[in-house]
Subunit: 104 residues, 2 copies
C-alpha cells in the first residue's frame, strides 16, 4: 500500500472553486480499482490550506490514477488557483497493515 | 470529524524503537470510542520521517485520547527519540463527509 499526502495552498479567492474541483476528483478517484481512500481535508487554522490523503493498493494503481480524465481535469483546473507549488509525499504503510482495514 | 496529521522526525538510531512504541499506540487508539482511524506511515524517501493520521468523530474524543495511558506512555517514550519537535496539524473533514465511510 502507498499513501501520498498532498499539501496545497490555495489563493483565498479560489478556495470555493478548489473545493468544488477537488470534490469531483474525490468522487471519481474512490471508484478507481486499487483506490483505498481519497480524503480531502481543510486545515483548521488556515482554510486556504488543504491536505489530500490518497491511499492505493499498488504502485500501478497510483500510476493509473495519474492517467485518469478526472485527475487531469483536476490538475489543470487547480493549477492557477495555487499560491505555491503543491507538495506530494509518498509513504509506505506501517499500520494498519491489513489491506482490508483500509477499505471503507 | 477532526483529522490531526502528526509529522515526526526520528533520530536514525531510534527508528525501530519508535515503530514499536507507535504500534502500541496504534493498537490501543483504534479501540477508543470516537476513534475512526489511526494510520502510521513512513515516508518513502526518508525512513526517519513518519506521519500519524488520527481521525476522531468529535473534539471530545480527541481530548479523551490525550488523557489515555497509551498516549501518555507513547509521548514519554518517543520524546527523546525525536530529531525535532513533532508537528501536529488539525483539519476539518470535507470528503468523505459521511462518518460511516470513515469506519473500517
Amino acid at each position: 500500500m502507498i499513501v501520498t499526502t498532498v499539501s496545497v495552498q490555495v489563493k483565498p479567492e479560489h478556495v470555493d472553486a478548489f473545493i468544488e474541483a477537488t470534490a469531483d476528483n474525490h468522487r471519481h478517484s474512490i471508484k478507481e480499482p486499487g483506490n483505498l481512500r481519497f480524503d480531502v481535508l481543510q486545515q483548521r487554522d488556515d482554510p486556504c490550506r488543504f491536505t489530500l490523503y490518497e491511499a492505493y493498493e499498488t504502485e500501478e494503481a497510483v500510476a493509473a490514477h495519474k492517467e485518469t480524465a478526472h485527475y487531469r481535469r483536476w490538475r489543470a483546473a487547480v493549477e492557477p488557483w495555487m499560491a505555491e507549488r503543491r507538495l506530494g509525499i509518498a509513504h509506505r504503510v506501517l499500520y494498519p497493515a491489513e489491506v482490508a482495514r483500509w477499505k471503507s
